[in-house]
């Protein structure tokens, strides 16, 4: 069922990208209501729309029928966050969000795999952690850029997904009461993602009850812009092998940075061997 949801979203995005004539820097869609293709319960859909309407990165929205699905199109601009994020020497990847619907589907997978907490490292506006909260999972959103953390605080007043303004390399992961967490790593392997993942993995591996109990989600790419990884896995193969992880599932979902590309973003779900 979740696989179908992911596939339907990718098809809907492709349909939307063909017909989109706007000029916004980023854009995304959320189905207006529950349907056969998107059997999402109303309170969840409502929360996803709320996240978008309250989020100042979106400055315009309108209704549009895409294929057979009535959707709301959200148009946004993240330039000023980009400008701020490039001032950080430790921030390797500038802010570019996944789609809200993609965050929702990815956290559905995380929940189905049995994880109880979602920790999003390099979390941007906190959408993945927000989605985890609406699925009643505990969540924690770590971001180094204070402007983005301010934005997260603004968005977390009703659904608290615990934003932390911190450098992931400096954070004391032992101070959280994680039981069975899954860590989402913000950033492609080729855009500083491996450095971020390495530091988080090292810290988690030093906490005995989490070492073999944690999951990892990596955002990959098959774009020819980047040199391929010899072990594949959308750029993460070498990292996964070197760190004794195994990829257990890959789910492809739309993101802001792949809107104009034919291939969506593969999210590699991994766990210790």
């Amino acid at each position: 069922m979740i696989e179908d949801l992911a596939r339907n979203l990718v098809e809907l995005k492709n349909e939307f990208a063909k017909s989109y004539e706007g000029k916004s820097q980023i854009q995304e869609i959320i189905p207006k209501s529950n349907s056969e293709l998107f059997p999402i319960i109303d309170p969840h859909l409502e929360s996803l729309h709320q996240f978008a309407t309250k989020n100042p990165i979106y400055y315009n929205f309108f209704e549009k029928r895409i294929g057979s699905v009535d959707c709301i199109v959200y148009e946004g601009d993240i330039n000023r966050f980009w400008l701020n994020s490039i001032q950080h020497t430790s921030s390797k990847a500038p802010f570019s969000p996944t789609w809200i619907m993609s965050g929702y589907i990815a956290t559905l997978f995380a929940k189905e795999l049995g994880y109880s907490e979602v920790v999003d490292i390099g979390s941007g506006d906190g959408r993945i952690a927000f989605c985890a909260r609406i699925l009643n999972m505990e969540s924690c959103s770590i971001e180094i850029d204070e402007t983005l953390v301010e934005l997260q605080k603004l968005l977390s007043d009703k659904t608290d997904f615990h934003p932390y303004c911190s450098d992931a390399a400096e954070l004391d992961y032992g101070s959280f009461d994680f039981k069975r967490p899954i860590f989402f790593i913000g950033g492609l392997a080729q855009m500083g993602g491996t450095a971020l993942a390495e530091v988080a993995l090292r810290k988690i591996n030093s906490i005995s009850h989490l070492k073999n109990n944690s999951g990892w989600v990596f955002a990959g790419t098959y774009s020819q812009k980047y040199a391929p990884d010899p072990k594949n896995k959308a750029g993460w193969g070498t990292f996964i092998e070197k760190n004794n992880l195994k990829a257990i599932r890959t789910v492809s979902l739309p993101t802001a940075w792949t809107f104009h590309e034919p291939e969506p973003t593969p999210y590699i779900f991994s766990q210790p061997i």
């Binding site: 916004s24 100042p56 400055y59 315009n60 148009e75 330039n79 000023r80 980009w82 400008l83």
Partner: protein, 143 residues
């Protein structure tokens, strides 16, 4: 098969093109991104042909031509135009960043936000051009 004579002809014609680009760069205060990229590629192009030619010729007159061109690149481009371009890009990036940081997004209309996005795009282009130019500087330092 390309003969040494072909390479020599190519070297002369490409050197002429480079000379023109250097003249343009000298005459202009503010070069466009396209002109900057074109000039650097031409410098690299002529340098590579010169290196290739040096390995294939023993004629003093050809070696003198190559030296003349190398001198032009070193004195006019590496020591003068290149640092000017780098400084110009850095100053312009600094100014654009300051201006964009001071803008109040909350009061902007959809149209203003979308037209402002063009300025951000220009800034990104300048930043990647600066990276490209800095790479050239690293190359010079290792020569």
């Amino acid at each position: 098969m390309i003969t040494s004579e072909d390479i020599l002809q190519m070297f002369h014609s490409e050197t002429l093109k480079l000379q023109n680009l250097i003249d343009i760069a000298n005459a202009k205060e503010d070069m466009s991104i396209h002109e900057i990229i074109e000039t650097y590629y031409q410098v690299m192009n002529v340098s590579s042909i010169g290196t290739m030619l040096k390995q294939q010729t023993e004629y003093e007159v050809v070696l003198t031509d190559i030296k003349k061109t190398e001198k032009m690149i070193s004195e006019k481009f590496d020591s003068d135009i290149h640092p000017r371009i780098l400084t110009g890009l850095s100053t312009s990036i600094q100014k654009m960043t300051k201006t964009l940081q001071s803008e109040n997004v909350a009061e902007k209309s959809k149209e203003q936000i979308e037209s402002n996005a063009k300025l951000f795009e220009d800034l990104r282009q300048k930043m990647s051009t600066r990276e490209f130019v800095q790479q050239y500087a690293i190359g010079i330092a290792h020569d």
